[in-house]
Amino acid sequence: MTDRNQKSDREISADLAAFFTAAKKSAAGPSDNLLAAVLKDAERLLPTPGPARPTPARRFSRLIDIWQGLGGWQAATAFGLFLALGIWLGYTPPSGLEPVADQFSGQIETVGVASDYFPLDDMLNEG
């Protein structure tokens, strides 16, 4: 229950306004000594101007540009999925693929280059 005698925030602000105004007017500014001390600190700590160096943030942004150029995370996700699928199929081919795989097993032949096509001895003799 609200006290009937209790003032509203607006009334309180109105009552205090004269105090705030008076306090603002009476506020003293910084002394010359303080300003001199602050300026002296500023001069002592003043950074030395130098050639601009690439910041880590800028280098990082270049990496981000390259990353985006390659397709970003979407491309990386797709690449990872297909890589995992390929590895999985390589190790455990689905049953439907086994007959196909069997057709190729044992049929890999070694392909060599017949020496007749490139007579090395002749080439060496010719210099």
Partner: protein
């Protein structure tokens, strides 16, 4: 760049210039920000000498921080007030043996302003009443009514929500009112 031209630059731009080694930016920032740091420190500490120490230390930290300043991430004044607030709080904690937040709220109907409170002395009475407020109420009222800060910025300085700042200001002013406006005739507020 001349100092009067520097005065047209905002705090961010000046701090960047100082960070790049511009001495004139240092002067412009000194004249612009030292009074504000001192004003807050004075009202929080109620001691002119200690307030000057705090203001100088806060500005010193500003110079040190300048090379790494990232414009747009925060307001320079908010950063500075936060430093002043922390430095003042440390000094007050050393000064008092009890925790600041444990200080009881002022009780209504305490003896208000005394007869000495004439127009020119209202400021002193207000400063005294401010010094008696719980720390966070005092900071919120000072930043709002003396430094003219917006509630979200005050919230950042104090480390509370904007709603909490509104509550702190309202309670702070109510406590000030209880202390100062006990006798309106003495204060010359009654027509």
């Amino acid at each position: 760049m001349p100092l009067d031209t520097m005065s047209e630059l905002d705090d961010d731009a000046l701090l960047l210039r100082y960070g790049a080694g511009d001495p004139e930016a240092a002067a412009a920032l000194t004249f612009r920000l030292t009074p504000r740091a001192l004003s807050l420190a004075t009202r929080l500490l109620g001691d002119a000498v200690e307030a000057e120490d705090v203001a100088q230390e806060a500005m010193l930290r500003l110079w040190k921080m300048a090379p790494g300043w990232r414009p747009g991430e925060a307001k320079v004044t908010t950063w500075l007030y936060t430093v002043v607030r922390n430095l003042a709080t440390d000094r007050l904690r050393k000064r008092r043996s009890v925790a600041l937040d444990d200080i009881p709220e002022p009780v209504d109907q305490q003896p208000g302003a005394e007869a000495r409170m004439l127009n020119g002395e209202r400021a002193e009475a207000l400063n005294q009443a401010l010094a008696d407020l719980p720390e966070r109420q005092r900071i919120a009222v000072v930043l709002r009514h003396f430094e003219g800060m917006a509630n979200p910025d005050i919230a950042e300085v104090i480390g509370v929500s904007t709603e909490a700042v509104e509550s702190l200001i309202a309670r702070g002013k109510r406590n000030l009112h209880a202390r100062l406006v006990g006798d309106k005739q003495k204060l010359g507020l009654e027509e």
